[in-house]
């Protein structure tokens, strides 16, 4: 393959271009990873809900903080069909010796789809027990078996940590899980049976119209899909727009950088291209050689940028919201492919324009 021979002979030149491509891949993967990390910090715990739909109270403006559903609404929702489970939410402060940390405290209906999967330790059995997210145990050093105090306003509640879950954060706070009844007691102290039964109800079902049926059957409810519920979290939509804009600029600039490198590379080779064309090579042949080289450089760039991103993820402290997902790699990979393609399209024009007469020292 003559095109690859050229790479072999021009190691420094192609090595540098591969390095640039690799750094652009790295940049795009990192931006994408930071974006997903940020999104996950805001809404990871909601995204972990094992549900298709989230039922809010109609007057809550679809906010987890304001939504309150009564026991009769809860029962009516369960009657419509599908699997359901109540979730309660409140902000609380975890305290243990010198540790003070704000947490997103969720109450869940045991045995329902709202119950989080326990990764280590065991599930909750009593009201005095609590599950904490791995993020919290990592950042605070808390572990299964520890005693912890959860404070809501002036009232403190004592818990024993019995297990760890991997549900993620909510509104930038690590999550912790207690039984729904306990949450109800903490959230609405002294109200007894008059207190709301849950903040939201999760629902899961195959029927497409489950949401509409719930809204029709149960007064004063608002049903959102899980992704809609995430977008409705204050600031998430704006945050997603900002991340998308950064990704877009990163992609455009990366594409231009890579494109212009190939452009310059082709320009530098005008004389060699003229020799090929004078000897009778078609523009397609020359362009085909160029595509081979672009593909080789793009592959080398990916082989450089992707491991670099993985190493960075491992090296960064865990409090930086960085989440390298498959989509981050896909974004990086697709961007490079498109950028390389655009770059070679620029060059294709040049290839056609090279006058074979210049190989004769004329023109």
């Amino acid at each position: 393959m003559l095109a690859l021979q050229e790479i072999r002979r021009k190691k420094l030149q192609f090595g540098l271009i591969s390095l640039i491509v690799g750094l652009v891949v790295y940049l795009l993967v990192m931006i994408s990873a930071l974006g997903s990390g940020l999104l996950s910090a805001m809404s990871g715990a909601v995204n972990s809900f094992d549900a298709d739909l989230v039922v809010f109270s109609a007057d809550s403006n679809d906010s987890f903080l304001r939504s309150e559903l009564t026991a009769s609404q809860r029962d009516a929702i369960a009657e419509v069909g599908g699997a359901t489970g109540g979730i309660g939410y409140m902000a609380a402060t975890a305290q243990e010796d010198s540790l003070t940390e704000d947490v997103a405290l969720f109450g869940f209906e045991p045995g329902s789809i709202a119950e989080p999967a326990v990764r280590s330790g065991r599930a909750l059995a009593r009201e005095g027990e609590i599950l904490i997210d791995r993020g919290l145990s990592r950042s605070s050093g808390l572990k299964v078996g520890d005693q912890i105090t959860m404070r809501n306003a002036l009232i403190a509640y004592n818990f024993t940590i019995v297990g760890e879950v991997d549900e993620g954060q909510f509104l930038g706070l690590p999550s912790a899980y207690v039984l729904l009844d306990k949450w109800r007691e903490m959230r609405y102290p002294g109200q007894g049976e008059d207190a709301p039964a849950a903040s939201v109800i999760l629902a899961r079902g195959h029927a497409d119209d489950l949401g509409a049926r719930i809204e029709a059957a149960v007064p004063n409810t608002s049903v959102l899909s899980k992704s809609e519920a995430i977008s409705a979290i204050g600031g998430v939509t704006e945050q997603e727009r900002v991340v998308m804009a950064i990704e877009f600029f990163g992609f455009v600039i990366g594409a231009l950088v890579i494109g212009s490198f190939f452009f310059v590379l082709t320009m530098q080779r005008a004389y060699e291209i003229a020799i090929f064309k004078a000897l009778g090579a078609s523009s397609w042949y020359v362009f085909g050689q160029l595509i081979c080289q672009v593909a080789a450089v793009a592959l080398a760039g990916l082989a450089l940028g992707v491991p670099l991103a993985l190493v960075t993820e491992a090296a960064l402290p865990s409090d930086i919201p960085l989440q390298i997902t498959t989509s981050a790699f896909l974004t990086g990979g697709a961007s490079i492919t498109i950028a390389a393609l655009l770059g070679s399209l620029f060059s294709a024009r040049q290839v056609v324009r090279v006058n074979p007469m210049s190989a004769l020292g004329q023109v």
Binding site: L2, I275, F276, L279, A281, S282, Y285, P356, G361
Partner: protein
């Protein structure tokens, strides 16, 4: 002028560059023919239109007027794609100066021809080695052009020109970068290849010492062929 179905015929060839007041007539009404197995030199001062004429014969340039018939085909009105195909299949070029691809070894430079025709094979590789052997540079097959002497480079360029077994071999100033002894050797072996393989050979040169190797000389001045003379 002798007619030869397999040979080359140039008829009233004219090339004008530019237009209007700035128009330059590089070649004016040139007619001649060359038989297969014949090696013809075009001589003349620089600026006399030699290289422009050569480029039209090889399908690199389109004539403004007149026609070029090679092996029975009139190439003068062909499209760029048709002429590119003609060049890679029927023409062998030896360009002036450093015309090898710098990042390819001598053997790979010969392999450019089958590569651009999509005909890379073990047979082609064997032919490349055979040509390098005949031209006396087989020991340099795996060296880059930058590592070769001027004479070796020119031999590799001749090997490349013969690689696709062309009907027409066009040579532009083959000795401009060589001392006279090397130049003589190179042109001599070129003349032998053209005779032996029954090619149409046309060489542009300003070096009159090389004319002992050719069958016929065309003198060019001011874009015209002056006096076709026989040697």
């Amino acid at each position: 002028m002798s007619q030869d179905e397999q040979g080359l015929l140039a008829q009233s060839l004219t090339k004008v560059f530019g237009s209007g007041d700035t128009a330059v007539e590089a070649v004016r009404d040139v007619s001649f023919s060359v038989r297969t197995g014949e090696f013809v030199a075009i001589v003349g001062p620089s600026g006399s239109g030699k290289t422009t004429l050569l480029a039209m014969l090889g399908g690199l340039l389109i004539a403004t007027n007149g026609r070029v018939v090679v092996g029975g085909s009139d190439i003068s009105r062909w499209s760029e794609a048709q002429r590119a195909r003609f060049r890679r299949e029927r023409v062998g070029f030896v360009f002036q100066g450093f015309n090898l691809v710098p990042y390819l070894t001598a053997e790979q430079n010969l392999m450019v021809m089958p590569s651009i025709s999509g005909k890379v094979s073990g047979e082609a590789r064997e032919r490349a080695r055979q040509l390098l052997r005949e031209l006396g540079v087989e020991k340099r097959a795996h060296h880059l052009p930058g590592e070769l002497s001027g004479g070796e480079r020119q031999r590799v360029a001749i090997g490349r020109a013969l690689m696709n077994d062309p009907l027409l071999v066009l040579v532009d100033e083959p000795t401009s970068n060589l001392d006279s002894e090397r130049g003589n050797e190179v042109v001599h072996s070129l003349a032998e290849e053209i005779k032996m393989r029954n090619k149409i050979g046309i060489m542009v040169t300003h070096d009159r010492r090389m004319l002992t190797h050719v069958d016929r000389v065309l003198e060019m001045a001011d874009g015209r062929v002056q006096s076709p003379e026989r040697q």
